[in-house]
Symmetry: C2
Subunit: 173 residues, 2 copies
Amino acid sequence: MAHNGATPDGDDARLTTVGLLFETSAGLRRLFHRQLEESGPGGQSFDVLIRLARTPGNELRMSELAAQTSLTPSGLTRAVDRLQGQGLVSRRTCPEDRRGSFAQLTPEGRATMDRLIPGHVAQIDALLDEVYSVEEEAQLEALLRRMRDHVLARNLDLGTACEGAPEPCPAAD
Amino acid sequence: MAHNGATPDGDDARLTTVGLLFETSAGLRRLFHRQLEESGPGGQSFDVLIRLARTPGNELRMSELAAQTSLTPSGLTRAVDRLQGQGLVSRRTCPEDRRGSFAQLTPEGRATMDRLIPGHVAQIDALLDEVYSVEEEAQLEALLRRMRDHVLARNLDLGTACEGAPEPCPAAD
DNA sequence: TCGAGTTGGTTGCGTACTCAACTATAGCAC
DNA sequence: GTGCTATAGTTGAGTACGCAACCAACTCGA
């Protein structure tokens, strides 16, 4: 209720903020998709690969991976299926808990990512350098992080009504 | 090249910034979806409805609408099909250019939005109030707007290599 | 050690999206 | 006018995703 200036039409300046967030995200996704589909895996599920590539050992539990990629368990299962079909990822059953499994980058997957990531990083570097100063970039990251933590926590609340995880995320991102 | 600290693993602090953007966007979308599907149209294509509701006359050209909702023309056609099937939107052929058509909120669609928007706005208000100060919110909006404009322009460049639209967007959002 | 309840992951089914190909109208050259 | 090209939108085919239902393995109490 700080500055709720809704017009009769239900308008609200804050709607534009979330609208901007959606548009930016969609636009970025499309931009990346273009570059990646030229020479790589489907361009889809690049998120999955990059999370694995950025993890020591290049492997992660399915549930961890799902959380980090904003996919449901179901969606992740199929994404990993596809990547496995392409030979970029393999599954390994967890020895201590035989229900669970790890998704792991294969050597070929690792090689593919070594080939793809530089271009991807370069694209992001170019974009951010053009748009933001160093301080602004740090600001944006801090602001987004707070919003993300809040939104994630709220989504969990609605889902399970408990889970009591006060710490938003260990070191994921 | 300002601060390109990529590690041997292809890591880069900037990857986390775009990662945060994606996570935040996905989380928000899910949050809204929950609230909307309880009492409304599919929850999907709420974007389309809200853009129409926020436009004077409650109608917009298909192409405009597609651009504003980050959908392809194809995707928008089907979204409008669905909404038309639900009686919330109608099509009107453009008199001056018989190729084009307008999507327009029906009275029922207008009523539905009048019923739904207050809750949506309240949800956003609550979220932003909890997370940001007034200044931070303005900062975020400004930062996002610049990124969006840049990304959109770049996507257009790749698509048509011209179009020469220096002004990013008249008054859309 | 035997259920009862929980958690990690997978599958059936339906939905929504994209890309490419298409139709129809418009605009322009000549 | 007749053709050529560009633009607005739709349609066919394929893909990706979520939800709900499910199975399998762990946990815990008795």
